[in-house]
Amino acid sequence: MEMTPENLTRHELIGLAVEVADSTNPSLTGISGRVVDETRNTLVVETKDGEKRVPKACARFTFTLPDGRRARVEGLVLESQPENRINKRVKRWKL
């Protein structure tokens, strides 16, 4: 499935370049690197300072897609187990 901003929330995120754009925890803002692992509530980002585990619920992520486009995603929308997120999960809310 081709990766577009529309299906980003249903796509595999491991391997994507990511930056934490905004977070309620200031020490997490600005973390940038590549996603190496994902759990239900966190993303593990490999940065030049090592691996950082970032909770999804308190952050907004800027993903860079393979075609160069960038999309900012609310972490709350991604919060689920990666294998379940691939199935259609339509949240009836706007942010």
Binding site: T4, E6, T62, R72, E74, W93, K94
Partner: protein, 228 residues
């Protein structure tokens, strides 16, 4: 420089003044943004281009959706969302209030106390989830007298307590039908304080429509995903 915004104003053919007359008056009174929300059926606003040429004022054409039941509301709100940057709903009956709070296409639910009933907890929770602001039309404060006004104030106070508890944003407006109905931001804040708002809450309520507009201007690929 403050960025106060009048969120719910009616112009010709529904009100008695053109958008440019309303915009001039609003600018004199101290607003920097005006949202014209005519009801469904009166969408063809008279000379909107004249209003956008006024310096110092941002005039946005929105719509106030009126509906008899939930099904009609959902279809009208969805089609309005595609055409207008600001979608308000004329609150009143419980069914319409509930449907508006559960619809993500809706930005604002205006005067839900119109049906003489206060909002319920389930409604406010749904409004918080779907990011629907609650609009308080302060014209009954001026227009009504005696017991009808005190009953209206009681309903508004109950709604206010609930939206404070669930942190749902509020919007205050004069609900103007002509340029003579418009009030200065200071007057609106004072009227809101009489009803039960705190000063900072009333100020936030005047700034909130701009936040709604900013959010709607961004391009959203899907819920929570913004294209940069």
């Amino acid at each position: 420089m403050n960025f106060f915004c009048e969120g719910n104003v009616h112009s010709l053919p529904e009100g008695s003044d053109s958008p440019s007359r309303l915009a001039l008056e609003a600018r004199c009174l101290g607003f920097s943004c005006l949202i014209i929300c005519n009801h469904t059926g009166f969408e063809k606003v008279f000379l909107p281009e004249a209003a956008s040429s006024i310096q110092g004022m941002e005039v946005i054409m929105g719509i106030e959706v009126m509906a008899e039941n939930a099904k009609v509301l959902h279809s009208r709100a969805r089609s309005a969302r595609a055409r207008y940057p600001f979608v308000a709903v004329h609150g009143g009956t419980e069914e319409v209030n509930r449907a508006a709070c559960e619809d993500p296409s809706v930005d604002l639910l205006v005067h839900p106390e119109d049906g003489r009933k206060a909002l319920g907890i389930a409604l406010v929770k749904a409004a918080q989830e779907n990011d629907v602001a609650i609009g308080f039309d302060l014209s009954p404060m001026v227009r009504l007298r005696r017991t009808s006004r005190s009953r209206w104030m009681e309903l508004v106070r109950r709604n206010l307590t609930l939206i404070r508890k669930f942190e749902v944003p509020a919007v205050i407006t004069s609900g103007a039908m002509s340029h003579l109905d418009l009030r200065t931001p200071r007057d609106l804040i004072a009227l809101a304080e009489v009803v039960g708002f705190e000063t900072f809450e009333a100020k936030e309520a005047l700034l909130h429509p701009l936040r709604i507009l900013d959010k709607n201007r961004k391009s959203w690929a899907s819920p929570g995903v913004e294209i940069l």
